[in-house]
Symmetry: C2
Subunit: 501 residues, 2 copies
């Protein structure tokens, strides 16, 4: 469908003008990223970006938006489940990923069995559900879920900025200046919306602060951002901090997980956490700790548990992080499991609509079927699949015909394959006409776009209630269509925004 | 007085923390400047900046603020004067500066005598009055005017940002973290205010747009920014454009004076100006054309007149630009002249309080006295003076004992000295304890600070009325105390803000 839409065809002069507008806007408004890790100091560069917002069907977008609070509810219900289905499921496979899921799960078990520290009954989730647009044979499109992220979801800040930039360019007629050349931006029905993801993420953090302060009868508490050292995408995080400060006068501090034992103190009596300057920490917001690379020492793992075993509200808790496992995503594509957590048939049907087939590689019927597929190694069949380990952060997936050789070579013992899921590839069709600007170079290439929808929940373990459940804005990331993954910071993608039609 | 105040004494770790906070804040919020003219594209750097706001007496600050609307009125009244005193005075010496004042005045005369084009009766002024703090012998301080700028006043954008940064650091306890070490930021009475200069300058431009649109019964007009090519300080200007767009949906376009004939069209019937995309230009806002270097061709001078001879509101008109001459400033220190334009004795007295002695170098009594001083060439006496030609933009003044040899050598004919004014040096005392951060290097040096007060007027030549007269915020620029001039972009100064006590 989108392929019939066309982008402005700019003259060389027009391109120069728009690029200049983009550079000035981005550098004035924090739409930036450190250029490389050599100078994370006083100089920065325009974030990789598209010249135009990418044209997407309004129906598809609205379907994704409308699903967010249902997805939020699904994960909230999993976390609130009396029988702790989540823990039971994770325990079955976590030992197969001893470097990460296994360790996270061990910490979670220690947390659960701890009898020393006071526990926080509130959990705050700041999520992002990622979709690709599937192209069906009849030319129809529909959104399909790539993955549900429960920890360290990024680009809420930059998405707000890039969508405002594109709105600025659109409203200032830079997209229609070339005259009536049939480009879709002349269409009166086209909308270039702004993502309020920055404002909404800050609002959710404020809710965490307020809830803690009310619960504990405290004031002037702070948010602790747990971050990676040498973060190139630091401005995306900082924008949230400045929004918290400017709008709500809420202060924040940033530390790495390795600094916890030197900068944070816990009151052993009431389990309250304090920053070294004496500020009480109401919310611990993880923008790190989603990958084993973030834990470079035994101490860093201990620090993670230290934070968990405190009265601060964690965004997310270890349990909430584990709920975002690819294994859990796979299990939820099973209707019986899904119905358990979303009993409204209309709601569960709307989620099922967005799932593609995901196979386990265990000894179930589905699992054995999938393992056979892999062993048969038919290139045509395997070209429809991606193999995913339990990792976040990009660059970990194995695609198509690489799957079989990879598994056979690296995991000769088939039992170990259960650490992976096998996911059907979403057949998203590259679009052409938009232009990527990165490092001051233009790439007039086919792109693939991934739509992320932000959402938040605040849940109460004690009352087993969902106290807050919202849609928080969106993100569009686009990448060269011939690169398999789309990490913007990692180096192959860029931030984009939407033109709805 | 201010010398008894002390700044935080930071540990090495404390400095590192604050510098990191400054870098992130500045790069996220457009508190930036292009690093050099080689890459005015996709990379930028933190603007030269101080670590702390500079401590200034609240009295001095308030005196400067309170004088602004009186200064505005003074210049408005000069412009509205029925006898055109301004033109008469400028005509006497403009031929002595044939490269610039002479040419500006010629254009002005052509404008006045033109009978072809429709003229705009509204003039909008966006001014900045600059002060130094004079230190009297008894230890008292008082503010003294350096110069009144009527064209292209800059740093309204960055001043808002740097004051917000310092407020953020102060409110986040970065200045008191080191503990009660007697530093003045522990003082409960200290205030770290925010300059609303960005918001107010945009508001004044909007007033220009609204006034034009009402007058002409038009809508959706734009502001034309006339700028220099390769402007390093472009973000300061862009911030105003984005404020106009975000708050008022007013669009703007940027051109250099050399591009006027190719990008701007005038309707010969009604003298309305249009940008090449067809947008009607309500306001022409000069962020260039204040120096002969901005006019590199005959065409550029013609373009300047072309803009003047249009119905658009000019910020400023040629006449308003000429009112900002140093010659006019000198004349206004004459009480009789001052009283002509500000008849309220309290008001004129409050202005006189802020003047230092300025001599003409003409054949008046004062002028002959000053010329004698120069020729006597007593180093002790001349060390109290600065010689100023009619130029803007810094780097043109001649200081102290350089004055006599300069004049004797360059202007052997004493008649030509009348192009200059001889101004008493304001005895401002350097302060120590603040730290300059520029290009990622720290300078723990004595600094001199110059306070700028922004203000606007809208005046009507027809009714001879002042329609609008406001104080618009402030700017503090600081420089190493051993460099004679304080241009931030030019390379020796930095943007600072205020801590009032
Ligand atoms: N089923 C699929 N069909 C098509 N492409 C997919 C599919 N699953 C993943 N991808 C592609 O691979 C990328 C990475 O996959 P995924 O997001 O699941 O991994 P990740 O390691 O969790 O990455 P991150 O958390 O950084 O987004 C996606 O952004 C998408 O481009
Ligand atoms: N009377 C004075 N006493 C002390 N210092 C002065 C005096 N006049 C000027 N200076 C110093 O010289 C600098 C430049 O002077 P001035 O502002 O008059 O020149 P300019 O060419 O108009 O510069 P610009 O328009 O860029 O500010 C001032 O910022 C101040 O530091
Ligand atoms: Mg992903
Ligand atoms: Mg992920
Ligand atoms: Mg000056
Ligand atoms: Mg000046």
């Amino acid at each position: 469908m989108t392929s019939t839409y066309t982008y402005p065809k700019l003259s060389d002069e027009g391109v120069k003008t728009i690029v200049n507008e983009i550079n000035h806007y981005a550098l004035s408004n924090g739409l930036v990223m450190y250029k490389d890790t050599n100078n994370l100091a006083n100089e920065t560069a325009v974030a990789p970006i598209t010249l135009f917002p990418t044209i997407i069907s309004k129906n598809d977008f609205e379907q994704a938006v409308n699903s967010q609070t249902i997805y939020n509810k699904l994960y909230a219900n999993i976390l609130l489940d009396e029988k702790n289905w989540l823990s039971n499921e994770i325990s079955k496979t976590s030992h197969l990923d001893p470097d990460f899921t296994g360790k996270l799960y061990d910490l979670y078990v220690k947390y659960e069995s701890d009898k020393v520290y006071k526990k926080q009954n509130l959990q705050l989730g700041i999520f992002r559900n990622d979709f690709l647009i599937d192209h069906l044979d009849g030319g129809e499109t529909s959104i399909k879920e790539v993955e549900f992220n429960t920890i360290s979801v990024s680009f809420g800040g930059l998405s707000n900025k890039v969508s405002k930039l594109h709105e600025f360019l659109f409203d200032s007629d830079y997209y229609t200046f070339a005259g009536k050349d049939g480009n879709s931006f002349h269409n009166e029905k086209i909308e270039v919306p702004v993502s309020e993801s920055l404002q909404n993420i800050a609002k959710s953090l404020k809710l965490g602060v307020d809830s803690f302060e009310k619960q504990q009868d405290q004031k002037n508490t702070i948010v602790l951002f747990v971050v990676q050292p040498n973060e190139r995408n630091v401005f995306d995080q900082r924008l949230v901090e400045y929004e918290l400060f400017n709008k709500y006068k809420i202060k924040s501090k940033r530390i790495t997980i390795d600094q916890v034992d030197s900068l944070i103190k816990k009151n052993e009596k009431d389990s309250k956490l304090y920053y070294e300057n004496g500020s009480l920490i109401s919310v611990v917001y993880f923008r790190a700790c989603y990958s084993p690379n973030d834990f470079l020492s035994k101490k860093s793992w201990e620090n993670r548990l230290y934070l968990e075993l405190s009265l601060s509200i964690k965004v997310p808790t270890l349990k909430m992080q584990l709920a975002g496992s690819k294994k859990i995503q796979q299990l939820l594509t099973n209707k019986d499991i899904l119905y358990r957590f979303i009993d409204d048939p209309k709601e569960s049907a709307s989620l099922l609509d967005t799932f593609v087939k995901i196979y386990p590689l265990d000894d179930s019927k589905d699992g054995n079927f999938a393992k056979e597929l892999i062993k048969e190694n038919d290139p045509e069949i395997l070209s429809n699949f991606v193999l995913k380990p339990q990792r976040e952060g990009g660059g970990n997936n194995i695609y198509k015909t690489d799957i079989t050789p990879y598994l056979l070579k690296t995991y000769p013992n088939e039992k170990d394959w259960d650490a992976f899921i096998l996911m059907e590839l979403i057949k998203s069709v590259p679009t052409s006409g938009n232009i990527i600007l990165r490092n001051n170079e233009l790439y007039n290439v086919n792109i693939l776009s991934e739509l992320g929808i932000f959402g938040s929940v605040l849940i109460d373990d004690k009352s087993k209630k969902i106290l807050y459940n919202t849609y928080d804005g969106w993100l569009l990331r686009s990448k060269l269509s011939d690169s398999n993954e789309g990490g913007v910071a990692a180096g192959f993608g860029c931030v984009d925004s939407l033109a709805l039609i």
